[in-house]
Assembly symmetry: C2
Homo-oligomer: 206 residues x 2
DNA sequence: TCCAGATGTATCGAAGCGATACATCATCGC
DNA sequence: GCGATGATGTATCGCTTCGATACATCTGGA
């Protein structure tokens, strides 16, 4: 099973954890979650659903239940609504709780982050710190290769590199804010168990 | 020919435009150019080189010339050094000058940008403005979907979206700076033809 | 001297993408 | 009403690309 398909597995299980969904809707939410970039096609989603079905992690709802709101007896092709099985919930918990390199690489980090609400504070901290470390390693590498090769780059390539570097630095600062915020709410944890860390005023009325 | 392979074609031709290179070195520079993300494998590069060879856009240098500095007569597997043909140079110019959507999508923009030094100011402006427009469309889309679905997102997903939005906004500002700078140097063009636009004080002492 | 790691070309199986097929439903101009 | 257009919906096929690996040589240090 490839790296990519693990992300898809985690994302699908996570979305179905909130509510049963059919393929089309699943893809829309998946693409919102993964970003416009890295969107996935039906040629990926349907085989993935098949494999999850085969593994017993998800189950198709009875079509009759799903069609209740459309009282048509005609040969309308039924939507196939999927929900998590007990095994699926277990699998999701084990995936979302894993906090190794697999959780903080480029392709995986944001999906893990999106499901932070279902993890414990210790896991969140490990993933955030791992991610920050990963980005700092990259900064070091780029900066070194820049000093080595700066003279043969024209100013456009240089500007591109500068902008890229700045983006990564910005992301590191973002992670640091999140880590601090996570640590702070960790300490006040007993006093205020419902508080959620992060920028937005937590339980805002909006 | 897919979208991806067009990028590879442009990038390979562009790199060989500067100097003849062999596969291994080509891949290293390609990955520096494309970013650590989106790196390409040998399973992609070598078939691409094959197809460029078949199309007459590149040519393998005489192995004897390439091996001159290693005076070994043994069965050492020779490096295969590629250089551009006249057709290849022409093809590169036509690719790098094209300024349609194909030049400002996510996957293509930075490669086009990296070779801006080989384009004229009008092309650069069109691509930069197209890219900015593209990102602004995306901002609109995301903002709309945010107001539609904000209530069912937890604060982590929300924070992720906020950060993503901010990144795109930042990129729009960057593009605006570049466009302004490009326009300015366009106007002073006759007076100072060697001036290059962009943030870094051009020939700065380092 | 010997081993580990960089350099170098090349291919194979598996996975994912983009396009497409096919079908129903909602909406709007006419 | 009536056809057109586009959203909703499931599904597959061919081609590209990836990740892993094979194989071979060179370099530097224990």
């Amino acid at each position: 099973m490839s790296r990519r398909s693990e992300i898809i597995e985690l994302a699908v299980l996570g979305l179905l954890h909130e509510a049963p969904l059919h393929g089309y809707e699943l893809r829309k939410r998946l693409n919102a979650l993964l970003g416009t970039f890295r969107a996935l096609s039906y040629g990926t989603l349907y085989p993935a659903l098949k494999s999850l079905l085969a593994g017993g992690l998800i189950r198709a709802l009875d079509p009759d239940d799903a069609a209740e709101s459309l009282g048509r007896g005609t040969g309308r092709r039924a939507r196939i609504v999927y929900e998590l099985t007990a095994d699926g919930k277990e699998r999701f918990q084990s995936l979302v709780t894993q906090s190794g390199p697999a959780a903080w690489e480029d392709e995986t980090f944001d999906v893990h982050f999106a499901f932070f609400a279902r993890t414990d504070a210790a896991t969140r901290l490990r993933i955030l710190e791992g991610r920050r470390m990963r980005l700092q390693e990259r900064l070091d590498g780029v900066r070194q290769s820049m000093t080595r090769t700066r003279e043969r780059l024209d100013s456009y390539t240089l500007e591109l590199q500068r902008h890229g570097l700045e983006s990564v630095e910005r992301e590191v600062r973002w992670l640091t804010e999140l880590i601090d915020s996570e640590r702070a709410s960790n300490m006040t944890h007993l006093r205020n168990p419902d508080a959620l860390p992060g920028r937005p005023d937590p339980p805002g009325p909006g």
